[in-house]
């Protein structure tokens, strides 16, 4: 055996040992108490994929021995398979912090139930991490994609995963800030955007700003690049990549915001503006995300159309007016690529099209609307102000569970309009502190979600019992 083949065999054996270590580690941590059942799904997938990697590496021994690959080609090929092992480690990292003592357990079941009502065969994992970071990501589509070009043992390991799995990361220090979770609806928007193939309808309708593109083409083809060291083809590729990426990804983000507003109503708006105003520069954008100013502009526009915002509580009217004013101002960009994307998308016809397209993707019963909001403010807010968790409503013995979206919207209403009044009825230690009142409110909302979920589970169990199911 030549040296290259021998070293290849050693690499394979070493990687197989690492895959085995992964299998054993999963066996060890799988029995921890996780607050989200889907944490175990991830671990089982990792275990199965690591087993598949081990056998795939075994078959690579034949490739190493007998294939016509050159040493450099073989090296790249082997390392590709080996890279799946750190990829699987990344997945284990995702679920760290989802153990029962670390993750707010009361939150999981209501969120899980809601997500499943919007998208069947989906699941969530909520993890709290020791970092100031709030994120939600769907991972199953990516995992399936990663293994789509691999041989069956590996590609088949994805079979048991749900269709969609949302990983929600929350900062451990602020894990009780339940109202922020309204932004889950934005992430559901991504899934619905893909499921309903909205891209097909939206992208062809967007006209890329011709003038700037023509100028860029001219610069590229005539070589007027101000002594740029870049080659012509590189520049062409760069512009193509940057423009297409921005426009298509930004459309996805804006559409997901719109879907979120349809699903969660004002709660998403308030959660988004709270996070965006706290942590993002209003005009800062990236190739994947449009500037917050544009996002808020579109969300404000939609909120004003769907709700009688001018008749809301003065605190809310004032807030919405402020955001409408600010988001109506010109977006200051630094890059021509951002400018092309903004000028292509920040147009009434495009924003109208996004609004109408996303509306078609959401069933009527899932939409939050003005009537529901009025009822929630009328029925739930007084309960909250009296420190009663609004988890169920109705005459004694015939109470009905309150929906998650209603509870969170009522919570936002109190937070933005009547927090002082809420705080005044708490213990005197909390009465003079806005932060303490907010903490009290979040706890009450969390309790409401828990009660609502218990009521739903009870109703389900009763129905099953009546049908004679075990």
């Amino acid at each position: 055996m030549d040296s290259h083949r021998l070293v290849a065999q050693l690499k394979i054996e070493s990687a197989q040992n690492r895959a085995q270590a992964l299998i054993e580690e999963v066996g060890r941590i799988k029995n921890r108490p996780y607050s989200s059942p889907a944490s175990k799904d991830i671990l089982e997938f990792v275990q199965e994929a690591a087993t598949a990697i081990r056998s795939l590496l075994e078959s690579e021994k034949t490739v190493a021995d007998a294939s016509p690959l050159m040493p450099a080609e073989l090296e790249v090929r082997l390392h590709r398979t080996i890279k799946v092992i750190p990829y699987l480690h990344t997945l284990i990292g995702f679920i760290e912090g989802s153990e029962i003592p670390k993750s707010p357990g009361q939150l999981i079941q209501p969120l899980r139930r809601y997500v499943r009502s919007v998208i069947m065969n989906s699941d969530i994992v909520v993890s709290s991490k020791p970092e100031l970071n709030y994120s939600i990501r769907e991972v199953v589509a990516s995992i399936r994609k990663a293994f789509s070009e691999t041989p069956p043992p590996l590609s088949q390991s994805c079979a048991k995963l749900p269709d969609f799995l949302f990983l929600v990361n929350i900062p451990a220090i602020e894990s009780e800030q339940i109202l922020i979770h309204a932004i889950l609806s934005h992430e559901l928007g991504h899934a619905l955007y893909n499921k309903h193939d909205l891209e097909k309808r939206l992208l062809p309708a967007i006209k890329i700003r011709d003038k700037m593109i023509r100028h860029l083409v001219n610069v590229i083809t005539t070589g007027e690049t101000e002594s740029s060291p870049m080659s012509e083809i590189w520049l062409r590729q760069y512009v193509t990549d940057q423009v297409t990426e921005r426009v298509s990804r930004w459309v996805t983000e804006l559409s997901s915001d719109m879907i979120g507003i349809q699903l969660f109503g004002p709660a998403l708006y308030f959660a988004s503006t709270t996070l965006l105003s706290s942590f993002s520069h209003i005009d800062r954008c990236s190739s994947s995300h449009p500037p917050p100013r544009l996002r808020i502009k579109l969300m404000t526009r939609m909120l004003k159309k769907a709700y009688t915002t001018d008749k809301w509580h003065s605190n809310l009217t004032e807030l919405i007016k402020a955001w409408a004013d600010i988001s109506g101002e010109t977006i200051a960009t630094r890059q021509p690529m951002d400018q092309i994307a903004i000028e292509s998308l920040d147009r009434d016809d495009v924003l109208d099209l996004i609004e109408t397209s996303v509306s078609d993707a959401i069933p009527e019963e899932l939409r939050y609307n003005s009537t529901k909001l009025d009822a929630d403010v009328r029925d739930l807010v007084p309960l909250i102000l009296n420190s009663v968790p609004p988890g169920e409503l109705g005459p004694m013995g015939r109470e009905k569970p309150i929906e998650l979206v209603s509870i969170i919207n009522a919570g936002w209403y109190v937070y933005l309009c009547q927090l002082a009044e809420f705080g005044a009825r708490l213990h005197e230690s909390a009465a003079n502190s806005r932060l303490a009142a907010a903490t009290g409110l979040h706890r009450l909302i969390l309790k409401a979600l828990e009660i609502s979920d218990i009521r739903i589970s009870w109703e389900e169990a009763k129905r099953d019992s009546e049908r004679g199911k075990d």
Partner: protein, 155 residues
């Protein structure tokens, strides 16, 4: 880069890399005069689709209209530019990718292009496979991260 996007890109990178490796293996077999399996032919068909998409991506700027395929074409164009490190002009790129497409088509249809042509195609896909491995490494180690610790308002 947003963590969600990094994971999605990492997954894309693995997928692209696995495919490029399979194409390289099929081309190595072809260059060696071995009979191609169904799996090899399927890989070569995907190679044809990638090269055709790269040409579409190359032409996009001349008529910038969007469709569901635009992003994929732009992506293939980028990877093709990376796999042809000695090509600097548009005309050179177009010619090279057209030649490569012709060779892969000939192979897919049971023809026998010259060994030189197969070698050129193999080098192209090997370069693509190698770049993808570099990309996977960067994404795994977070070397390209610019804002990893940023609060993600809405991902």
């Amino acid at each position: 880069m947003h963590p969600r996007r990094r994971f999605a890109e990492l997954s894309d990178s693995l997928k692209n890399g696995f495919l490029a490796d399979e194409i390289v293996l099929a081309l190595a077999r072809a260059e060696n005069g071995e009979e191609l399996s169904e799996h090899d032919r399927a890989a070569l068909e995907k190679a044809t689709a990638m090269l055709e998409a790269a040409i579409k991506g190359y032409k996009w700027l001349d008529d910038p209209k969007l469709s569901t395929e635009t992003r994929a074409s732009a992506d293939f164009f980028g990877r093709a530019v990376g796999a042809l490190p000695r090509v600097y002009t548009s005309s050179g790129f177009f010619q090279q990718v057209s030649d490569l497409t012709q060779t892969v088509n000939e192979l897919s249809n049971g023809g026998t292009p010259s060994k030189d042509k197969i070698r050129g195609l193999r080098t192209f896909f090997f370069n693509a496979a190698q770049s993808e491995l570099d990309r996977t490494d960067q994404l795994l180690t977070g070397e390209d991260s610019t804002d990893a610790l940023e609060w993600i308002a809405i991902d």
